[in-house]
């Protein structure tokens, strides 16, 4: 019997990557290529979909070449992708009508305010699970329809098609116009209960149904690739954070993962029913495997975590590299009473206060750069605790263990402090590439390479575990101080600040 492998495409914000995994979920090859970040105006971020498609083809070929494999060694390909980034293309020519509008792009800010002014930020929360915010695809489609002459008519006739990156890649690979349900759930156009496009939402945003892809499960054979990857079944797709949840095998209600990068994303499996958040979290589809019922999740995103360490490195300059922050932080025993709330662009989940700005609280003459380094790292842990408390309250059960991945898990001091302030064990799996692994798992289950999702659990192994060891009085006091520091960020932005803050 020959060894066979699953190819996983991670179409991310900065780059496209291809990883090949063996049957035990081990990485056998990695290839990566960055694409251009296009900034036409302040606050606008675009990607060239054609460049991304070419890069994806290249990284797949490169990953095969590095492992000395050919297409015939690959059983199926899965896709994980940057979420919400919006492409509209011509059905006949396949040419995008313009660059993709990236999820970070805030050009829909005014549109969002208009939509919210009538009924508030939660206007579509019940149906879509999402608060009104610039990230989501639906308003980006509306912007394109408003700003490209004739596009509305072409969209109504079905001559142009919309897709997030999963749909764009599947269309280019197979010729089918389909999207995975986790990606569809980030458009603000999908009904969270029916998992279909919702007429009320389509009407509210004026998006023609004819341009939308068919919504399909996260794992099934969408089609066979033609062209350079001819014959390869495309059998799985998930938004990147959903892929990480799946790759961490958080298959049971109550299991949660947090991916620590520039920002951090905590997703909690809540089972077969969507839980509407009373605490400002997002309700989302975790994954849907074939005909099985969907698994829902609560999502809390933290805007500034690794970004604060980068800020400390680049803007303050007392460390030369991000990992050195741990060395600096270990020069002191504790934070010296100093707390750093990085509300650089306001407070997000669970506070949602755009009038807040960052503070360093508790400064005294005693505070050194070591204490500041501690406060920088602790900010990530305290922000996680706020999201976890909101989730516990919404979901009605307590988190038992937090599975972590992402670059910041290399920081032992942070991971131990995280376990201490959450008062639950924090575990890191042996495959850090959970996003790619999740997409590989979806594709492998989609073609029967793995018989079922339970069999995937056998591939999940602890690489490290941090056990809580903090005295509860210390923890409670720390959290009390953190919340006081958070209070001090509020009501900072004034009406006449607009010109300097945005």
């Amino acid at each position: 019997m020959t060894n066979r492998y699953i190819a996983s495409i991670d179409q991310g914000t900065a780059s496209s990557r291809c990883l090949l995994f063996d049957e035990r979920g081990r990485i056998v090859s990695v290839a990566q290529k960055e694409h251009h970040q296009i900034f036409p105006k302040p606050g606008w971020v675009e990607h060239d979909p054609g460049e991304i498609w070419q890069n994806v083809l290249e990284v797949v070929q490169e990953a095969l070449a590095k492992a000395q494999l050919t297409l015939s060694d690959i059983v199926a390909v899965g896709i994980a992708n940057q979420r919400e980034t919006t492409v509209v293309w011509d059905r006949a020519t396949g040419e995008p009508v313009q660059n993709a509008i990236n999820w970070q792009d805030i050009r829909t800010d005014h549109l969002i305010h208009e939509l919210a002014s009538e009924a508030g930020q939660d206007r579509f929360r019940e149906r879509s699970g999402l608060p009104l915010a610039t990230y989501f695809s639906g308003p980006k489609i509306r912007w394109l329809l408003d700003h490209i002459p004739g596009l509305q008519e072409r969209a109504e006739a079905g001559d142009v098609l919309f897709g997030t990156m999963d749909a764009w890649l599947i269309w280019n690979l197979t010729g089918r116009h389909v999207t995975d349900v986790t990606n569809a759930g980030r458009t603000m156009l999908m009904n969270l209960q029916t998992l279909e496009w919702d007429d009320v939402l389509l009407d509210a945003l004026g998006v023609p149904r004819a341009m939308l892809p068919e919504i399909r499960p996260s794992a099934e054979v969408y089609g066979e690739a033609t062209g350079a990857l001819a014959g390869l079944p495309v059998a799985g797709a998930l938004g990147d954070q959903h892929a990480a949840l799946f790759g961490q095998t958080c298959f049971a209600p109550g299991e949660a993962k947090c991916t620590y990068g520039t920002g951090s994303f905590l997703l909690l499996n809540t089972g077969e029913q969507p839980v509407t958040s009373a605490n400002g979290l997002i309700t989302t589809v975790g994954y849907k495997i074939g005909d099985a019922p969907p698994t829902y999740a609560l999502e809390g995103s933290i805007a500034v975590t690794g970004a604060l360490v980068q800020w400390f490195r680049d803007n303050v300059g007392v460390i030369g590299s991000a990992p050195e922050i741990e060395t600096l932080a270990r020069t002191v025993e504790d934070n010296g009473g100093c707390y750093f709330v990085p509300a650089f662009a306001g407070l997000f989940a669970p506070h949602w206060r755009s009038d807040a700005r960052g503070v360093i609280a508790g400064l005294t003459g005693y505070i050194t750069k070591g204490h500041l380094a501690r406060a920088v790292l602790e900010a990530t842990a305290w922000q996680t605790r706020e999201v976890v408390e909101a989730m516990n309250s919404d979901a009605g059960f307590e988190l038992k263990t937090l599975r972590v991945d992402g670059g910041m898990t290399a920081n032992n001091l942070l991971m131990q402090f995280l376990a201490d302030v959450l008062d639950v064990p924090v575990v890191r799996p042996i495959v850090a590439e959970t996003v790619s692994l999740g997409a590989a798992y979806a594709a492998g289950v989609g073609v029967g390479f793995w018989p079922d999702i339970e069999s995937l659990r056998e591939n999940w192994h602890k690489a490290a575990e941090w056990i809580p060891g903090m005295d509860s009085a210390v923890r409670d006091k720390g959290y009390r101080k953190w919340r006081k520091a958070v209070q001090r960020t509020l009501d900072w932005v004034d009406d006449d600040d607009d010109d300097v803050t945005s």
């Binding site: 050195e324 060395t327 898990t409 690489a463 941090w466």
Partner: protein
């Protein structure tokens, strides 16, 4: 040698003598070796001391190489930085070897564990990052000592005490072993720290070829060794991961 600067040549000669076998020399000894007046040698030593390239031993008054120079030579890499750069490779070694992985850096003749990956079998294991392992009785330590003769001298001077009957307590035997480790590029400890346990390690090098750490696996002798010694496929996994980390640090240009 036309165009060369005499005082720099003399300083280099002093540093070369101090990096030789005896390591610690007085002004008189240095002057004798170089055939220079004591006053000249003393002047050069004072300047080298100012820039941290030599240090004077308070008790004996003799000179030795300074910390600044040693740091340059050993190319100090922050342990947290090393862990971050090696994270994926350490995971992949643990997955391939099916054993726990540790990365160590040299700390006063011992191996300081800066990274630890559990054996991927979901058994109960505790993180031992921050632990110090004896340099002469572990594979990690032997790799680190093999590339640092100063630390080796200090370890031998401090005395080699046995942990098991297999621990190397003879200084000459240890030196010979470390020499072999340096030449062949990997080290083993076979029941030298704990009876029934084996560890294997290989050096992590930076772009200047300096050894900045060691990566290795450890586990029961039944799994890590056979009748001929450490299992060759495990040695190759360890060496491949060490090379992969080194390549990421810029050591190997291909």
């Amino acid at each position: 040698m036309p165009g060369s600067i005499q005082s720099i040549e003399r300083a280099a000669a002093i540093l070369r003598l101090l990096s030789g076998r005896s390591r610690r020399l007085g002004v008189g000894e240095l002057a004798g070796e170089l055939g220079l007046p004591k006053g000249t040698v003393h002047g050069i030593l004072r300047t080298l001391q100012l820039v941290g390239f030599v240090e004077q031993d308070a008790e004996s008054g003799k000179y030795q190489l300074g910390a600044a120079l040693l740091h340059m030579g050993s190319s100090y890499l922050d342990g947290n930085e090393l862990r971050t750069r090696a994270l994926n490779w350490a995971d992949s070694l643990a997955a391939r070897a099916n054993e726990s992985v540790r990365i160590g850096t040299l700390h006063e003749g011992q191996a300081l564990v800066v990274h630890h990956v559990f054996r991927p079998d979901n058994s109960r294991q505790a993180l031992d990052v921050g632990a110090l392992l004896p340099g002469y009785a572990t594979a990690l330590g032997k790799v680190l000592l093999a590339h640092n003769p100063y630390a080796t001298d200090a370890v031998i001077d401090a005395g080699l005490s046995p942990f098991t009957p297999a621990t190397m307590v003879d200084a000459d035997a240890l030196r010979a072993e470390l020499n072999e480790v340096r030449v062949r590029g990997w080290a083993a400890d076979v029941e030298e720290l704990v009876e029934g346990e084996v560890s294997l390690a290989a050096p992590i090098q930076d772009r200047r070829g300096a050894t900045v750490g060691a990566i290795g696996i450890s586990g029961p002798i039944e799994r890590l060794a056979n009748s001929e010694g450490p299992r060759s496929e495990l040695i190759s996994y360890v060496r491949e991961s060490a090379r992969a980390v080194s390549r990421d640090l810029g050591a190997i240009p291909w």
